[in-house]
Amino acid sequence: MTLEQQLPALQVILPLFGALICALMRRGSLAWGIALGVSFAMPVISGVLLAEVLSNGPISYHLGGWAPPWGIEYRVDTLGAYLLMLISAIGALIMPYARASVAREISADKQAWFYTMYLLCLTGLLGIAITGDAFNIFVFLEVSSLSTYVLIAMGKDRRALLSAYQYLIMGTIGATFYVIGIGLLYSVTGTLNLVDLTARISEIGPSRPVLAALAFLEVGISLKLALFPLHVWLPNAYAYAPSVVTAFLAATATKVAVYLYLRFLFSVFGVSVVFKGLPVPEILLALSIAAMFGASLVAVFQDNIKRMLAYSSVAQIGYITLGIGLANKMGLTGGVVHLINHAMMKGALFMAIGAVVYRVGSARLEDFAGIGRRMPLTMAVFTLGGLSIIGTPGTVGFVSKWYLAVGALDKGWWWLMFLLVASSLVSVVYIGRVVEVIWFRPLLHTGTTVREVPLAMLVPMLLLATATIYFGIDTTLTAGIAGRAVDMLLAGLS
């Protein structure tokens, strides 16, 4: 087989190898070097895969040479490739940033382990996006989750331990629900291959075990996705995890769960089962709206900015699930494109916060007073990210909002459009609060140590911030591909 044919496997194996080698290292900087190399290779691979999928259709890779549906199949289609690209790009941006930040926040003897866990997490996330086997998804889900728990527990604050524990309980319940759902499906259909499952479920139709499986899967994935009100693990986990971890997780982990949601709702179960068997769209819409308002309102009252942004993430996930609930071309495109858009803006925001933590050592609002004068670039990144969260035209946030609103109106739900725009008004309040403090308050930390962060941290942030503007204007790479993925998902909808 040529190298190009091996790419789907390499996408997952390279970070796995990287993780194993990192585990053998004792020096953090060596481990960082390996993680950096692997992270830079990832977008190259996923870029080639994406180009291949867009021009020639889905790629299938038979692991171990066993043909599906018996063997495990790695299957890259438009949606999967889109997600691979997202995860690997964020990973590649995070790694240069990570070194200094990790050196500041994690003790030297644990740094090699940190990079091991990071690469394992990357492996898991990429694996979920690439595999075409339902049980394999569970394995990768747990690989990424277990490493995530460890990463979160590495936070400096002792509450990081509690958050990791809390996440572990919730996450395991979620994953177990997922396996239960898969088990039910397996006992009904006798297959685990996603493509095969799709065919067989459409033969069976909405029978009771299938609907039960759907319910279990939906709840399980919703836990991972932090769908309101199953989000309680997320704010603490994001708030107390090391800054790098927060940025990475916020940009990727929940997105992968959304991918699973899309995969199961639209392709495995198919629109006919999901939308006729259970009131899935109605539930999703109601919960999404609750998330958009509830979580945003809570965000307004947070003093820890990481926590504030974490609640904002819950709200933004609401937008994504709203698009799923709309289930029409424009709405779903809005949801899918918001996956990548939200990853960009939240990545930028959390990296900016991480930079402040690097210099000031705190993420409390009052410690940000006047910091815009000492760290103007970092705070410009924060401001741009914030504008994107608000959905200002010219940023990626606006593109998502436009699609969602048009999707809502296409259904004739003008009230939903108003709710959508009204909820972004709440985000003006919490972002505006921070912006006022960083630019217009007198400087609190007058020490000379508070200045711009090293270039390796600054450049990734600036790149992401630029991306939030660039992809707000040229959307061929984001909305264009998302649109094609949506066409694929909606193929079953008559």
Binding site: A9, F17, A19, I21, Y61, L63, T116
Partner: protein, 138 residues
Amino acid sequence: MKLDLIFRITTKLILPFILMFALYVQFHGDYGPGGGFQAGVITAAMVILYAIIFGLPAAQKVVPARLAELMIPLGALIYASVGAVAMLLGGEFLNYSVLLSDGPHGQELGILLVEIGVLVTVAGTMTAIFYSFAGRGR
């Protein structure tokens, strides 16, 4: 303690048999129930038993904590390398058939190597878990 003596002697006596049984389970995995997971746990049980009877320091003299920790990625690395070798030989990842010119024998060899990897990792993991819990809170 007198009872202690009986424990010590018995342990010393059965340790080789535990290891032997582990290896049996390991290599019989081809033909019957068994394999690297079980063998790894049994191997670790040997170390753990030794540690319980003779104390943690004595056990760590035989199997240092660092070794146990190294075994974890090492075993997985053996596993993954077999897959990678298969890739280099032109097959898919973990396609053992290409390891030897004869497909089924290649499968056999591949599984054997992979199971050794599993043994190493599982034994290492179990021992490491035991060490880290036993070594705390004194």
